[in-house]
Amino acid sequence: AQSVTQPDIHITVSEGASLELRCNYSYGATPYLFWYVQSPGQGLQLLLKYFSGDTLVQGIKGFEAEFKRSQSSFNLRKPSVHWSDAAEYFCAVAAAMEYGNKLVFGAGTILRVKS
């Protein structure tokens, strides 16, 4: 079955430290890739997306992600985490053939930021 995997359920980083959240997907071709962030009790906010072209994409709030075809990965990074970044992060994939062009989410990674 096609899937989106976020291997880390929880991650804790110190404020000011760098961050990398992992995302892997299983799909034969290149899907559309997204990262969303969700604060408690809120909806999902798009951080960034990859459709094609440059494999390093910049998003809002200082986040970036890199698409690596050979690893089927789309990891999210931030060089210096702020306390306000504490939230849950979802990687999502949309692919025509495998997912019927619907958005499929990973299980999410909860980010905690310690001072």
């Binding site: 559309y32 997204f34 969303y36 009790g41 809120q42 909806g43 999902l44 906010q45 798009l46 997306k49 979802f90 949309a94 692919a95 025509a96 997912y99 019927g100 062009n101 619907k102 958005l103 499929v104 989410f105 990973g106 299980a107 999410g108």
Partner: protein, 112 residues
């Protein structure tokens, strides 16, 4: 300004009493989705509309229905809510299937 608006933000309903959740959009997008998100889980797609065409996910219970009377509005009807239906319900829109999706703030449903 909010582009996908869900009402209400919080809804409490009685076990077995029908409830309707509302979603509206100002983006004029073709596709509207309803997702169910239970605590500490990923959002799970229930169904979507592409324009007036309704597409139900295979594992969506019959208890869940949807209506889209026009481009801007989409409703989620739960005919007989059970305790297991307590969740956050997220509405989203996109111009086309698989495209960039915009989410509303969600409606937190509590079943008592």
């Amino acid at each position: 300004d909010a582009m996908v608006i869900q009402n209400p933000r919080y809804q409490v309903t009685q076990f077995g009493k029908p409830v309707t959740l509302s979603c509206s959009q100002t983006l004029n997008h073709n596709v509207m989705y309803w997702y169910q998100q239970k605590s500490s889980q990923a959002p799970k797609l229930l169904f979507h509309y592409y324009d007036k065409d309704f597409n139900n996910e295979a594992d969506t219970p019959d208890n869940f229905q949807s209506r889209r009377p026009n481009t801007s509005f989409c409703f989620l009807d739960i005919r007989s809510p059970g305790l297991g239906d307590a969740a956050m319900y997220l509405c989203a829109t996109s111009r086309d299937l698989g495209g960039l999706a915009f989410f509303g703030q969600g409606t937190r449903l509590t079943v008592v």
